[in-house]
Subunit: 217 residues, 2 copies
């Protein structure tokens, strides 16, 4: 058996590795809201159990076993999220929180049934791919919204999960997977993008825009 804490660490390590280099201990600690010392301890436990390899000053990397576990957790998380949002009509940000709890107490049988009930969705409500029961995950497609040029039209395919504040904000703007956007203007010096979303026009910071994936039309 594998504890909830361990699952949370594996998940965080996977997500940190997703955007770039292997996770450093401080980044991991920060993300999980624990001290560096605690994260360090846990990482050594994970290494002892063959779930990660750790090189000081380099970072933590999941082993094959660790990655398989992480993908399984992501699978559970994203299917629950789909259920909460689509079936129970729960708001995005609340759904993320709730799924964080449910993901750690879901047997394979339960998850498989849930998946069938939901119609085997490809992604979570934020557009992230749902890993299969066998541990496959579809490659991310789409480009950062920040890579578009003025005048480009595109459809949102993925928004960041995790931060509740960001989710509420994007939800309020109507920016969710499937939304069509037009780039009206791009301010210089890393400035904001001006977007048209339906009838509305809005300004979006470059940083956040780089974390939204779109598909050109």
């Amino acid at each position: 058996m594998i504890s909830q804490s361990v699952e949370e660490y594996l998940e965080a390590i996977y997500k940190l590795a997703e955007d770039g280099a292997p996770a450093g201990i401080p980044a991991l600690a920060e993300r999980l809201g624990v001290s560096s010392v605690s994260a360090n301890e846990m990482v050594r436990r994970l290494e002892r159990d063959g779930l990660v390899t750790y090189a000081p000053y380099k970072g933590v990397t999941l082993t094959a076993e660790g990655e398989a576990r992480a993908l399984n957790i992501l699978r559970r998380h994203r299917l629950w999220e789909r259920f909460l949002v689509d079936v129970l009509a729960m708001p995005w940000e609340e759904a993320h929180e709730a799924a964080c709890g449910l993901e750690h107490v879901s047997s394979p049988s339960l998850i498989d049934r849930l998946e069938r009930f939901l119609g085997e969705p490809d992604t979570c409500p934020h557009g992230h791919a749902v890993p299969t029961a066998t541990g496959q995950i579809a490659a991310r497609n789409g480009h950062p919204l920040s890579d578009l040029a003025e005048g480009d039209e595109a459809v949102v395919v993925q928004v960041p999960e995790e931060e509740p504040g960001v989710l509420t904000y994007l939800s309020g703007l109507g920016l969710r997977p499937g939304t069509a956007v037009v780039v009206e203007a791009i301010a210089p010096f890393e400035g904001p993008l001006t977007l048209r979303v339906g009838e509305a026009v809005l300004a979006l910071g470059r940083n956040l825009a780089s974390r939204i994936l779109v598909e050109r039309k």
Copy 2:
């Protein structure tokens, strides 16, 4: 916050108190699969936190606060069970297990949404009343099946939850809430009851029969 362990203890204390006297430490320990020492420790923690009162050699009793918590846990458990059985078509015995995990990680908002989605059911799949969000629980109605006389006809209203083996057995016999039964014969000396269930005739031990509630027709 309240830990999963604490919730399991409260639930067990409630259920033990349901059938008779206040829970003794050994009974509690047995039910939870821990040693008497562990149960003793925990009971003292619960008392320290104002959730139970404990009199050695007498038993453990929930305080008002403790009972409110227990009812809330039961609410979550039974609604999840309803979902798992009705919506995901999970077998009874598996659903009980799964609900045991889910019940500890479900926010009030989630549970309220789930309840609405399910159509505000009155009972869990085994016929036990679902406590309301405000902590009310409907009184148990019905009589033990073992109290019927030969020739009586009745409808099952409640079967025991908890033990997976019992659930599988009853499920196999077709004995579930709503099932009509006729008492064909009652063996003397605490012997088994012979029942007709639909076309089938079967023998049921007196002990198990006393834990099945029915309503006379």
